[in-house]
């Protein structure tokens, strides 16, 4: 879209949820709108406020504005990184797109591999921004702006910072008694904002607290007709693992129309090539996102609400317990220089079977000395010291040097968010959620022409909750969310959700990559080992052609 005077041209991917307020403000200032689109608001805001406009936006966005007068390009990406934005610069030409694949398809871009991206994928199961699998393609990091002119792109500049918001919250803590009220008000406000749409807004409903509470809040926000989609697995039908009956109970509770989509292993296998095809960058997950999006498309929905982000914001992951515990228990010992390395070598020599079955146990003393290291230990698919054994040793070494995983993770914690909850919240939000969950939701949704909206991934909500996040005791955040709707979630949902649900996709993945006979079994570590194999199968299908031989030389 071009501004009336022709000076600015905008290209925009996303949604601005506070568009009505922005438009009202601009019109009060005398701006005349030519359309009813939030895209136009971006043009007016940029013309008035320049780069500072990004602070006024609430929503998910990746956009570029060409300024004809200054002959430069302004790029911006939302604070959480919900919408993707990739750039490529060969020194003469700057290119940008919402997907890595689009840039590659456009040609003229080197397909040389980026060791940091490949190593990052092995460590985390997704490619950590700003890297991609290709050296010449980078992500504009979440919460950053970038200016490009005749001298080329400038270094991206941050305009918002999760750690900063949480640090401010921790510094001015709110009373524990306020937790429920703050969560209620904040979530309802966010849901209301996220319902702004020209078309029907549906919801992805599991039997967990997050989506159930959001459904209740949609109702509170005034939406009468709600269609909720639940993905259920054929082989769990009739067992306690089946989420469909509980989800149905939530639907009835809030008077929503329930659509249950049953998934079989056969359909999974049939769709696998299409999934790998749609996957923009390799990911060890995204399978559930693919099928639930497919179900929404079948139901004719264009926009859905998702409970993604609830675990990061409200302390739902086991990591909120594990990270502080591991760090406390082993951190002091691990701070002794060299001890981790020695212990690892010793155990590997004395008990080789132990080190093969529980490879991560060996890393405890090496990584639990810092929060970043503990996080890597908790979330890592492989640990850095294992990489030379699973991929080309030279690429592993070069990739680790370029990625600097510990330093990069630690940088997320600047300024220090002070409280333990806030630290884990930042690490989970900036790493796992950003590089894995949100990215998977984007490609899986887009492949089905579906817009997935995430009210629990919202900067305004984060600001509102930051003062009480340090005070969350285990389960308190989720309990508050369950109470957010005027009619709270049924108790059985809250109780059942605590034990979690299984998905059979792990087994299916294992079978699909032809290692089913390997007797991985259902031992506690088995899930991790399957993920490791699956990650290699995915990469096989996606790595730059010239990198593949090197990758699998080992």
């Amino acid at each position: 879209m071009t501004s009336e005077d022709g000076r600015f041209v905008v290209i925009f991917n996303g949604e601005i949820y506070n568009y009505p307020q922005l438009r009202a403000e601009l019109e009060t200032d005398g701006v005349r709108f030519r359309t009813t689109s939030d895209t136009e608001a971006l043009l007016h805001l940029y013309a008035r406020h320049g780069a500072d406009m990004v602070h006024r936006l609430r929503g998910m966005f990746a956009f570029a504005i060409w300024d004809q007068a200054r002959r430069g390009l302004f790029l911006a990406r939302d604070p959480y990184g919900i919408k993707p934005l990739y750039t490529a610069n060969d020194g003469w030409t700057f290119r940008f797109a919402s997907q890595v694949k689009a840039l590659v398809a456009g040609g003229h871009i080197s397909r040389d591999p980026e060791p940091a991206g490949i190593v990052g994928f092995h460590l985390f199961g997704s490619v950590p921004e700003p890297f991609t699998l290709y050296r010449d393609i980078r992500a504009l990091p979440a919460g950053h702006i970038q200016w490009v002119d005749t001298a080329g792109p400038r270094e991206p500049k941050p305009f918002s910072n999760l750690a900063d918001v949480l640090a401010k919250g921790s510094a001015n803590p709110g009373p524990t008694a306020e937790i429920h009220e703050r969560v209620r008000a904040g979530v309802l406000d966010s849901v209301r904002a996220h319902l702004l749409a020209d078309v029907e807004v549906g919801i992805f409903l599991s039997a967990g607290v997050d989506s159930g509470a959001l459904l209740g809040c949609m109702r509170d926000a005034g939406q009468r007709e709600i269609r909720a989609i639940t993905l259920a697995f054929e082989e769990f039908r009739g067992t306690s693992e089946d989420e469909a009956p509980l989800a149905a109970c939530v639907c009835e509770h809030y008077g929503a129309h329930h659509i249950v989509r049953r998934l079989s292993e056969q359909e999974f296998v049939e769709d696998l090539p299409a999934i790998l095809e749609a996957m923009d960058q390799p990911s060890i997950d995204g399978v559930n996102a693919w099928f639930v999006s497919k179900a929404a498309k079948e139901a004719g929905l264009k926009v859905v609400i998702s409970g993604l982000g609830g675990d990061e914001l409200l302390g739902g992951y086991p990591s909120f317990l594990d990270l502080p515990r591991w760090h406390r228990r082993f951190g002091l010992l691990a701070a002794v220089p060299g001890i981790g390395f020695l212990a690892r070598k010793l155990i590997a020599a004395v008990a080789p079977t132990f080190s093969r079955v529980t490879p991560k146990a060996l890393g405890v003393l090496e990584y639990s000395g810092s929060w970043a290291g503990t996080y890597l230990l908790r979330r890592g698919l492989f640990l850095p010291h294992e990489l030379p054994g699973v991929m080309d040793a030279e690429i592993a070494c070069e990739g680790l040097r370029r990625l600097k995983p510990l330093r990069r993770l630690a940088a997320n914690l600047t300024p220090d968010p002070i409280s333990e909850n806030a630290r884990v919240c930042v690490l989970e939000s900036a790493q796992y959620m950003r590089n894995q969950l949100l990215r998977d939701a984007d490609w899986a949704g887009m492949a089905h022409s579906l817009e997935i909206r995430v009210p629990l991934v919202d900067f305004t909500l984060l600001r509102a909750l930051a003062p009480v996040i340090p005070a969350f005791t285990p389960g308190a955040g989720k309990a508050a969310l369950a109470n957010a709707p005027t009619v709270p979630l049924p108790d059985e949902i809250v109780t059942r959700a605590k034990t979690g649900f299984n998905v059979p996709t792990g087994d299916w993945m294992n079978a699909a990559i032809g290692r089913g006979s390997d007797a991985v079994g259902r031992a506690p570590e088995a899930k991790g080992l399957i993920s490791r194999r699956w990650s290699r199968a995915v990469l096989n299908g996606m790595a730059p052609a010239n990198a593949q031989e090197q990758l699998h030389a080992s």
């Binding site: 002119d149 001298a151 270094e155």
Partner: protein, 357 residues
């Protein structure tokens, strides 16, 4: 500003030329108050532009390093320009000692393979890295862990002396009347051997068989000349290949004008400034479109690119047509790679550096 360079004023070859162009442009635009150039070599006479001084050349590495450190310590230094990757560790040391900013300039093959650890660390410490071509930039980014936004391409520029015009003096001096003249300008280094003289020499007999009365002029010096002369003899075309050695600027300009086609099927150009000199003199150019040469040929917009296999046939094809209008080509080449465009690039790079403070 302190310039740590192999050679600049009074130096020979492409790197010295680039350093002169860069430093003169900096001095002209006034972005820096004074420039002290520390060369290792300066065999020729030279005139310095305003605001530029150059210390006596010191070829020995130890003597050079000591002199550079002393010079750096004795005067205020805000900016260090390092004209060659080999000297980057010294430049990075001066940067640290003086708290100055560092620009590292990269050219061609020296920056393509992964360098030593100390060179890599020095380059990664730079505040700005300039590359003469996209290819060199890409190579640098393959081994350096540095923000890609700090690595800019500022291509070579062509001097004002190269213009289209009269080449008849050389044409008659070299007895070229009635002949189709091919030309290559470049050093003949037995260690490098990437310029592609061989490919041209081996293509000649076929071109003659097709009816082209060829004369191949080879300008430049180097120890590989003996081998190339033997190659021409073995191919039975020695009377059609003329090794002219090193020539003066005015002669060089006229030789460029005289040629029907400038050919340099090189695989190892950092950029290939000779392509620009030929085009600015109005002579069409043919290269392989490999490495930095892609930039000089502007991806085929200014020069002609051919694959190695197509190369001999492409020469024949081009010689079938009369030489195109030299003025149009010269104007296009100058618009893209002239001194003004270069100055804009240098200024933008320097602005970027200053703004980051």
């Amino acid at each position: 500003m302190l310039a740590i360079v192999t050679d600049a004023f009074g130096g020979r070859g492409g790197i010295a030329q680039y350093n002169r162009d860069f430093l003169e442009t900096l001095a002209e635009t006034g972005g820096v108050s004074s420039i002290t150039v520390l060369p290792r070599q300066a065999p020729d006479l030279f005139v310095l532009p305003e605001r530029v001084e150059q210390t006596p050349a010191r070829p020995g590495w130890i003597g050079y390093s000591v002199a550079a450190l002393r010079t750096a310590l004795l005067r205020p230094v805000d900016l260090v320009f390092c004209g060659h990757l080999y000297m980057a560790p010294l430049a990075a040391l001066i940067k640290r000692l003086k708290g100055a900013k560092l620009i590292v300039q990269t050219h061609g093959i020296e920056a393509w393979p992964r360098p030593s650890r100390s060179q890599r660390a020095a380059l990664e410490a730079a505040d700005l890295v300039l590359c003469v071509s996209r290819h060199t930039r890409s190579a640098v980014l393959s081994w350096a862990a540095i923000a890609p936004e700090l690595v800019l391409v500022v291509p070579d520029t062509v001097r004002e002396a190269f213009t289209p015009g009269d080449g008849s003096t050389q044409r008659s001096a070299l007895a070229l009347e009635g002949k189709r003249v091919l030309l290559t300008v470049g050093r003949m280094d037995p260690r490098e051997r990437y310029k592609g003289h061989d490919r041209v020499i081996l293509a000649i007999s076929n071109l003659v068989a097709k009816g082209h009365d060829i004369c191949y002029l080879v300008v430049g010096e180097g120890a590989d000349r003996i081998r190339l002369e033997a190659l021409a003899r073995d191919a039975g075309v020695s009377e059609r290949v003329r090794f002219l050695g090193r020539v003066g600027l005015q002669t060089l300009v006229e030789i460029y004008r005289t040629a029907d086609l400038f050919v340099m099927p090189s695989t190892g150009e950092g950029f290939g400034v000779a392509f620009l000199e030929a085009m600015a003199s109005g002579t069409p150019v043919l290269g392989l479109g490999v490495a930095g040469a892609r930039d000089a040929l502007a991806d085929g917009e200014l020069g002609i690119t051919a694959s190695e296999a197509e190369f001999p046939a492409t020469i024949a094809c081009l010689l079938d047509e009369p030489k195109p209008d030299p003025h149009a080509l010269a104007a296009a080449a100058r618009a893209r790679f002239g001194r003004e465009t270069f100055a804009i690039g240098v200024r933008a790079a320097l602005d970027r550096l200053m703004e980051a403070t």
